[in-house]
Subunit: 578 residues, 2 copies
Amino acid sequence: MFDRLARYLPVLDWGRHYDRNAFANDMVAAVIVTIMLVPQSLAYALLAGLPAEAGIYASIAPIVLYAIFGTSRALAVGPVAVVSLMTASAVGQVAQTGTAGYAAAALTLAFLSGAFLLVLGIMRMGWVANFLSHPVIAGFITASGILIATSQLKHILGISASGHNLIEMVGSLLEHLNQVNLPTLVIGVAATAFLFWVRKGLKPLLIEAGLGPRMADIIAKAGPVAAVAVTTLVTWALGLKDAGVKIVGEVPQGLPPLTMPDFAPDLVAQLALPAVLISIIGFVESISVAQTLAAKKRQRIDPDQELIGLGAANIGAAFTGGYPVTGGFARSVVNFDAGAETPAAGAFTAMGLLLASLFLTPLLYFLPKATLAATIIVAVLSLVDLSILRKTWGYSRADFLAVAATILVTLGAGVEAGVASGVLLSIGLHLYKSARPHVAEVGLVPGTQHFRNVQRHRVETRPHLLTLRVDESLFFVNARFLEDMVLERVTEGCPITDVVLMMSAVNEVDYSALETLEELNRRLRDMGVRLHLSEVKGPVMDRLERSHLIRDLSGQVFLSQYDAWRELSDTPKHRAAE
Amino acid sequence: MFDRLARYLPVLDWGRHYDRNAFANDMVAAVIVTIMLVPQSLAYALLAGLPAEAGIYASIAPIVLYAIFGTSRALAVGPVAVVSLMTASAVGQVAQTGTAGYAAAALTLAFLSGAFLLVLGIMRMGWVANFLSHPVIAGFITASGILIATSQLKHILGISASGHNLIEMVGSLLEHLNQVNLPTLVIGVAATAFLFWVRKGLKPLLIEAGLGPRMADIIAKAGPVAAVAVTTLVTWALGLKDAGVKIVGEVPQGLPPLTMPDFAPDLVAQLALPAVLISIIGFVESISVAQTLAAKKRQRIDPDQELIGLGAANIGAAFTGGYPVTGGFARSVVNFDAGAETPAAGAFTAMGLLLASLFLTPLLYFLPKATLAATIIVAVLSLVDLSILRKTWGYSRADFLAVAATILVTLGAGVEAGVASGVLLSIGLHLYKSARPHVAEVGLVPGTQHFRNVQRHRVETRPHLLTLRVDESLFFVNARFLEDMVLERVTEGCPITDVVLMMSAVNEVDYSALETLEELNRRLRDMGVRLHLSEVKGPVMDRLERSHLIRDLSGQVFLSQYDAWRELSDTPKHRAAE
């Protein structure tokens, strides 16, 4: 009973062994992650088109809920770049940025995502995430990174621009280029350059100065905090607000509010599909981070329970002024490297963010939006990896096609169309490939009982006996191809009287394939050719015996291909018997 | 050159060897088929919501065009029941029955179907028809038969009723039941009973009377002609038109008109999807008839060329006052049984129908619609076969689900939704099944070099060595499952130090699966476990060598599993070497 409960509430498992040592480690990790999360959360909220505080709210309750329901010891849940972009795209279609309706729709989206993830988790359907092939995910993340970085350029330039795809965005940027605000541009470019340097140049410097590589990495991750502090001070001191530098402004001080998603049926209908896509993309991102970190400590995470953890986190976000969240890559790695031992580190991080939202927000009044944009740009450009195009091109054209289509459609028509077309194309290409089952004509290797491909080995064959080894399970998409192949061989003019299908690699024969085999048997009989089977696996045979095929088979079922050969390789005898 | 042309114009092939004997046989077949086709064509046109003559027009040009481009020697192309129903459903959504717009939309639908089939044929994409699994086709045909029979009941009862699905139809029939026209009901029931008797009881009688079974069958197929003649005479003689019996009335006398489909963009957009579905359903019906008949004479038909033949036939129908057509089951079998040798039989049938439309139509003025309805009902009820539910239930639950869903959705929401949901469900179920690849843990059969499933055979294993035989190609849907399985086994607490994947049955590793294997390799290395591969097929190895996997592999690639066993089964040695 307790074990069963612990399966759904992993907190019951690790909570029992929690000690002072783990507490100290978790606490240190929490402080470091909190410092990193404040600017990141604000930035992602702006990316999602929401007020800055929504980013902090979206980190508090979700982190706690994930700590209770999730299985990863190191995953840090909250707003992430790609999901923020998808939120902006989905909510932007039903409400105007900056309105109360926009924020309410973001809550609805979080609730729908959460509910969908929970349902998948309870139904133990974590496997649906497998329908996103790696090339599609890589293409989507890369294209999203480019879209996000482009969308932030307006903040760096201090102009207003808009657009739902790359072409619109770039066009809009060029159109407003004459309105560039110089102080904003200086801050934006300086912050971007600084953050790039922190990422690439600071760490080696710190290591040279004698710090351990882990510590150096953690300090480098805190770079955005320095950028935030310096640019805020400069903007305040020089009065740059009046020079046209856009600032974050008033951020409400206080606890996350209790909020209610908008359940208007129209809104729910419009957001349902985006919610599904956001859930799946978020789940895939989260699970790959969690698995990577868990493997380092030889731990396991349970994908189905992860769905429940992420579902609870999103529902939490929906009722506390947040928006869709998931396990983020950067924050989770920092959490792990800083020594987090249990999900309690997440709970302490939540407390840190709570304190920040209670006391820190007035200090953010003069924070330039350009600094936040710089944070985002530097973060997402590390996601952009066009080498996937080269890699897939070298490995498999079908995979290349899926990546290229995903990138182009995402850039040209937006994130939802991009993911959808990538998934459909992957499934389509897979079915196309599996429509041609691998079938080899085999012959006897002289002096043995083994049968090998006639095209690769010198083997014995008989002109009246066609033996085909079927190397794949037979199902509706590929069965007819096998039938066509056999019939083509038989009508080619050779005097074939017996066809043997060697079924050693067939794990399943679905009903369509069964009917195709029955049809093949009938058609071959009409031509005076007998059909035999050999080496049928046990479970497949059990099923076939429940059908007409075995009873009506014009030939026999042989236990081994060698039995078939011994019985059938001698022509005149059986021709006489007919 | 000639051969290449002959591939696209099969007429060049059989036309060269055409002689007097073949001419005589084709002529006899043509006369018999013509007699059968006249009432059938009229009836199906009414089912499609078109004037009766459209059915005859739809048989003339298409038959000739198919004779030129098609590959089947016996297939008879023209209106068929299911395609007529689908036409009524598709065109009914864009125009009112009986208007000029309705007829024009039917032409557009025929043109779009034809164009789609042609394009598929030229791109040699006949394999797309494989995406309709047999259970889906069976379910769809059965549900369509029920829908068609129900839709004809109003003609038998002499009332007006409507509806797009079974519930609406039955409701509408019950509502108008008080308006039953007695003379119509008598004619309808008598004709139906007579046709059922002809189908079931006449043939044995004729055989008893000394006729050959083939001849008896052909005479029985001509039953509808007798029903048409008798009920027309009775209606005329008793003046039943004035008693409320609905008759066919004026049917224009003359050659098929030259018509132009309506290419309004709106209309084309609305009809595009139905045209695709009609094409594919029609193609599947046609090809299965053609293959069945071809096999009887050990001939082959070329599915891609069939697409071209059917495409040409439909485009022909679009310009000569017809509507979508395909190769029909009943007419093709009669044609074959009557001795048709070449597609010229079809051309002669077209001439017969031409004569009928020139001279016969005035005789059809008093033909009761109830008789045509009886013809349809008797014909389609033979398509209804609910036993597919029982058969699939016994064989495979997934296939049962696909049939049941197709039948229910077709009856409840119409033909297009039925086919679409059946196809999507089949693909979904297939992917669901393939998401769990067949993987067996294997051990060495003592005294041999063979490795077998540990659950089925008594085999040798080692606690530190996990050997998994992968029985399926690895691709994006199932690769993660393999990874999960391996990681679960390794983290279970056993002291596993080496994992061997035996790849003898893996025909392909797509890019996602490659990355999953690389990830698995990294994660196992993080845990101090080495990953090895064995028995990798040549083409798979060629590709893997182009990737990082082989270079970064923590273990080795073994040519045979037995090599792996010899190298790895001895624990202390290799642990010491590390």
